[in-house]
């Protein structure tokens, strides 16, 4: 069996940031990802990020990814790609399929930075080719430069739906409308305004009713909703489209945390069942940490800060940082997280996160 000090599952923004922090302090880090390239979703994020300079504000996600990969390389992190972690066992051992071979990796500390998966919506015709998730569209358009269709109906007006709609326009597609079941737009107004000034209608209190077509999407039927989310008969509208994109939020990919025996709480504002964790990002199982979307759906900016927190906490727990050094580093990161979790959008997440921390501390 192979051994390492700190195993990180998932090389997205959280995993990369944790690896850099811990390795810089001297920790032996093994960073594991099932894809053939590290970076997670960062390389699909071709837009400029929000935040302040410390959060890479104004920098495009794709360029943040390049920067983090460079740092990971220079600070001596072992990166294991095409490696699927299929199990987690007592005594901190991971079961991994790497290059078609099974191996076991025993670590003193483990960070689960496994991210999230997209939520789907079932409606008549939803299995027709042409109904696809926003993540798939971002991969096709922004990474492989393939346009999945010419006329797109976007379902969901959170930041993902708004940003992907904008990127579809940039790639030359037409976005016929963005639907939002809630009575108001879910994502940032500035993202919505970018679409509106290109003439894309954003229809609140409206949802998808049906996808129609022979062998593929040819038409989408939408319908208005009343204040109790009930369909309003007679408000159906038909759009001739070849793509219906679903951007309906994310659910944490928490299988490994369940398997490890972590305690969970159900927090809708954070995307569902979340492993209870403290301000060090440590779960209720000693030595197992979470960061990024698996610890509550937020953004790449918060994922990077959470990863740093976990990396610092692990370095401290392994004796590479003194309590004072760690406290000093954590304070800086916590302040930046506080900034990102303030205001009408972030404040809700801050409250939810505090609820989780309190649970962990009361045990």
């Amino acid at each position: 069996m192979r051994e390492t000090e700190f195993a990180i599952v998932g090389a997205g923004p959280a995993g990369l940031s944790a690896a850099i922090e811990a390795a810089r302090a001297g920790v032996q880090v093994t960073l594991i990802d099932e894809n053939d390239k590290p970076g997670g979703q960062l390389f699909k994020q071709i837009h400029k990020f929000f935040g302040s300079k410390e959060h890479y504000a104004g920098v495009r996600g794709i360029d943040i990814g390049v920067q983090l990969l460079h740092e990971v390389e220079t600070c001596g992190v072992e990166v294991m790609l095409n490696a699927v972690v299929w199990g987690i066992f007592a005594d901190h051992t991971l079961g991994i399929i790497h290059d078609h071979k099974n191996l076991h990796l025993k670590a003193k500390k483990i960070l689960l930075a496994t991210g999230a998966s997209e939520n789907a919506l079932a409606f008549p015709g939803w299995t027709l080719p042409g109904v696809m998730g926003a993540g798939a569209i971002q991969t096709l358009v922004n990474i492989h430069r393939v346009l999945p269709g010419r006329r797109v109906l976007m379902v969901g007006s959170g930041n993902v739906g708004l940003i992907v709609s904008y990127q579809l326009l940039q790639a030359g597609a037409e976005v016929v409308a963005v639907l939002e079941a809630m009575p108001k737009i879910g994502g940032y107004g500035v993202h919505a305004s970018k679409l509106r000034r290109h003439g894309v209608p954003i229809l609140t209190s409206t949802t998808i009713k049906e996808a129609r077509g022979k062998g593929k999407v040819e038409e989408a039927i939408t319908i208005g909703l009343d204040e109790h989310w009930r369909e309003i008969p007679g408000t159906e509208k038909a759009y001739q489209v070849d793509v219906i994109c679903l951007a309906l939020g994310l659910t944490p990919l928490s299988e490994l945390a369940w398997m490890a025996g972590c305690q969970f709480d159900y927090i809708p504002q954070l995307g569902g069942h979340i492993p209870v964790h403290d301000a060090n990002m440590e779960t209720t199982v000693n030595g197992i940490y979470v960061a990024g979307d698996v610890s509550g759906i937020e953004e790449a900016s918060t994922a990077m800060e959470e990863g740093k927190l976990a990396g610092i906490a692990v370095a401290e727990a392994l004796g590479y940082l003194s309590a004072a050094e760690a406290a000093c580093k954590k304070e800086v990161v916590l302040r930046r997280l506080d900034e990102l979790r303030s205001g009408p959008f972030g404040g809700v997440r801050k409250q939810a996160k505090e609820q989780l921390h309190q649970q962990r501390c009361s045990q």
């Binding site: 837009h47 495009r60 737009i185």
Partner: protein, 165 residues
Amino acid sequence: MTLAKNGALSLEELAALPGMPSKERLAQGPVVVIECAQEIPCNPCEAACPNGAIKVGEPITNLPVLAEEKCTGCGVCIAACPGQAIFVIDMTYSEEEATVQLPYEFLPLPAKGDLVDGLDREGQKICTARVLRVLNPKKFDRTPVITIAVPKECAMAVRNIAIRR
């Protein structure tokens, strides 16, 4: 219509923003219009301004406040805003025309001298616009800034262009 409902700021919402210059300042020459209406954690505009004319401060969710007397209308904040919510208006360009500088991340880029459609905040064509300048330096990081001349009465409404094909 309102921002939260359909994605376009209403005139009432715009008038209430701390990033809007006064009528008097607009009459004096180029100045920024900051159409940032929600308290999201973001402050690159503050760092971008060489004259300290944009203040966000702490917490960074504060709306950007324009110190209109310090703004020279240089426009370096336009490409720095991740939300593409900043524009520069010059009401003194000529007798009939004003200029609008706006971010434009689409290909093909227009060329100087082109006539394009001037679109409002809801994407409706409201005038013909003449392209005066296309800036796309490395510093703007792939957010080109287009300067257009439009009829004066359209200057506070035009926020996008459409290339004529």
